[in-house]
Symmetry: C2
Subunit: 427 residues, 2 copies
């Protein structure tokens, strides 16, 4: 049944393998680029149906991965990330259908103008081409990334983690079946047939064959990808997110926003890692107390520790640490400029928040803090493609070029200039 | 007088030098990012005035470069590129004033939407940060690139060619004087104080310090930059531009467009390098004859050579060659699909053109040819920021991410998300 996947023990070099798959992917992408909105949506709905139909095979494949992971002594959290069951598969299928229902970005007219010599200039959105996705243990990324790439007319070359190898193959076989049954080119979505780490290296070096790499996973993976890639990378490394409570913040709102930003889910990249309390904010005791009462460990500077004796002493590293846990660094700052200076020094450029009822202070913060996402009077936990109404996300980009913040379909496109003349020659 | 430039014989390593200059540039950029439209425009007008005032010093410096170049036996074309005189300096000053008159892209609202939880989401255009410009012998790039970066709120670290070292320094001193007199941070526009090639290497590796590198120069320079850079590069390598004359092309228009696309200026990246004539186009003899009569050497496939005996035989390399000269490769193709297949195989993705009065054929060409610029019934020589009404250009990008085609102020910006809440916590 596995004729959609390539043989695993290939005598090819990793470079040749990547070149061959990339050329297949690029050829498929040229066809996919001409597919209509309806064709792509239908293919995704077929893929979702095929995944539902293959529930037995996929869960059996996942059982193999889970057994191997247990034998290798993987931790409970990692096992949980790997685990698929009926309801998680249903969530994967629904997520694909949700992507099918999003508007097709391809062909959208971004801008139209008139050239001085009279031609009409149209900038029109097109797919990027072949996207390499390199990810770790969550098998749902196989389907999520495939769906977003296909919806936006891109081919994908997927390379998942070794722990999820059977789950990923089973999901990919089902997804590909759906794509094929809708008449779209099955090579548009390929899964690397080997877990050889050298093949990841070959993907990263495949400039001109792979147009963009999206790493999805922990800091180690992303850092390796950014260090070694010759292909452009859309990545986020750290989410060291700050919340600054201004003197004129509403105390109740400050408390709610701060507790939510830290404690709703501590392990996501949008979780607050540092709280900056203005020295002139009158209710810092209540806010810090609420955080402590909610079970959060606080590590503060001397002035913060004066507010509540339960606060431990912060070290220099604390200001640059992404805890991803119920731990928070806290500093007392003197005014907006001091708060923004701390953020300029320590933020990872992901998401930073001001809580204030002073509109001028908020406007300055929103204009001057140079992060991908700046927020006023809300929780940094909203830093998410779904919460931004994008319908999905391939990741949150903290680089400065191409796309920033939550990236969904639009971030997976580029544009071309169409120049419509009437015989003009340049003088 | 030279206290605006740094000492030339520094004991620093190239890496330390780049780090120090980049940090100065980044600090200046944070101030520049807050400068108003009027302040930036005033600084550019001051810079233009300072260049006019310094005409004597700049031309004296240029004389030194010219004398050295002559002593080194540089060719006439290279000397011409290097040469500054009163009218070229006036053109440089006017170009800066022209950039001053362009609309400020910074702060522009790109999109506004409502998050499902009620927050307002605004995507707003901001500067990229610190841009490294690496260029060759034309000293006008010093002023052009500085003006575009400053107008868009970016700092620049300029590294010009060794042949133009005195001219570049004199232009930079004058430009910086203008920036300073308008009260903007002079370190926003820095010129590398050394011609050490290792310092170029250090710029290319300065990820996190320099946000983007723009190489301006020949293929050798651009290829080196693309191969070695760890910083994102906005570059174009080749301009292998095609014109396809469809069966339903107007013969007169086809002749005019083809001769213009090749012969108006043969040395620019938008010059046509390959002409594809449809076998069903009835006037190919007139078009090819006009090109030959205009002094162009034609290298054709067998069918092209049957049309006019003056056409030489093309070799396989001809289809992948950017002549930048009065030489053109010519092939006869059977229909739109064959023409587009040739382009898919040989185009460098810069600019490709169809000449046709058949609207369906034109629409297919515009949709399916995957180049940065696709044109209908006009000359590829229009591939230029000024001709596109952008007012200027920092280059033409043939990559697929961030910006494509002519890049001016908008391509030198990125965006941030501003999230305006009313106390929302994420559930």
């Amino acid at each position: 049944m596995n004729d959609m996947t390539t043989k695993i023990d290939s005598p090819e070099t990793p470079e040749k393998l990547v070149e061959r798959l990339a050329e297949k992917g690029r050829a498929a992408q040229r066809k996919l680029a001409r597919a209509s909105d309806a064709e792509k949506a239908a293919a995704l709905r077929s893929a979702a149906a095929a995944i539902r139909d293959a529930q037995g095979e996929i869960i059996a494949a996942n059982d193999k991965d889970i057994a191997a992971a247990e034998a290798n002594g993987l931790s409970g959290a990692m096992l949980d990330r790997l685990k698929l069951d009926g309801s998680r598969l249903e969530a994967i299928a629904s997520a694909i259908e949700n992507v099918a229902s999003l508007p097709d970005p391809v062909g959208e007219e971004i801008a139209r103008s008139k050239a001085p010599a009279g031609m009409t200039l149209v900038r029109r959105r097109i797919p990027i081409g072949l996207i390499g996705i390199i990810y770790e243990s969550r098998p749902n990324v196989t389907a999520d990334a495939a769906a977003l790439c296909l919806r936006s007319g891109n081919a994908a070359l997927l390379r998942g983690g070794s722990e999820a190898v059977h789950s990923n193959r089973a999901l990919h076989v089902a997804f590909a079946k759906g794509v094929a049954s809708a008449g779209l080119p099955v090579d548009a979505i390929q899964l690397m047939p080997t877990q050889d780490r050298a093949a990841v290296g070959a993907m990263l070096k495949a400039a001109g064959l792979i147009d963009m790499i999206v790493p999805r996973g922990g800091k180690g993976l992303v850092a390796r990808v950014q260090a070694d890639a010759r292909v452009p990378v859309l990545a986020h490394l750290d989410g060291i997110c700050h919340t600054y409570i201004h003197a004129a913040a509403d105390p109740e709102m400050a408390r709610e926003v701060a507790v939510n930003a830290k404690m709703r889910r501590t392990g996501i990249c949008g979780a607050m890692e540092t709280l900056l309390v203005d020295a002139a904010f009158p209710a810092s005791g209540e806010v810090l107390g609420a955080l402590l009462d909610s079970g959060c460990e606080l590590r503060g500077d001397a002035r913060a520790r004066n507010i509540d004796s339960r606060i431990k002493a912060a070290t220099a590293e604390d200001w640059d640490t992404e805890y991803l846990d119920a731990v928070l660094s806290v500093a007392v700052v003197d005014g907006l400029d001091a708060g923004m200076a701390h953020i300029a020094q320590h933020s990872s450029g992901h998401t930073d928040v001001i809580v204030s009822n002073d509109e001028d202070a908020a406007q300055r913060f929103l204009a001057e803090v140079d992060s991908a996402i700046v927020m006023h009077n809300t929780s940094s936990q909203f830093a998410d493609g779904g919460e931004f109404g994008l319908g999905a996300e391939i990741g949150i980009a903290t680089g400065r070029l191409h796309a920033r913040g939550p990236v969904a379909l639009e971030g997976l496109t580029t544009y071309k200039w169409q120049v419509l003349g009437q015989g003009q020659a340049r003088s």
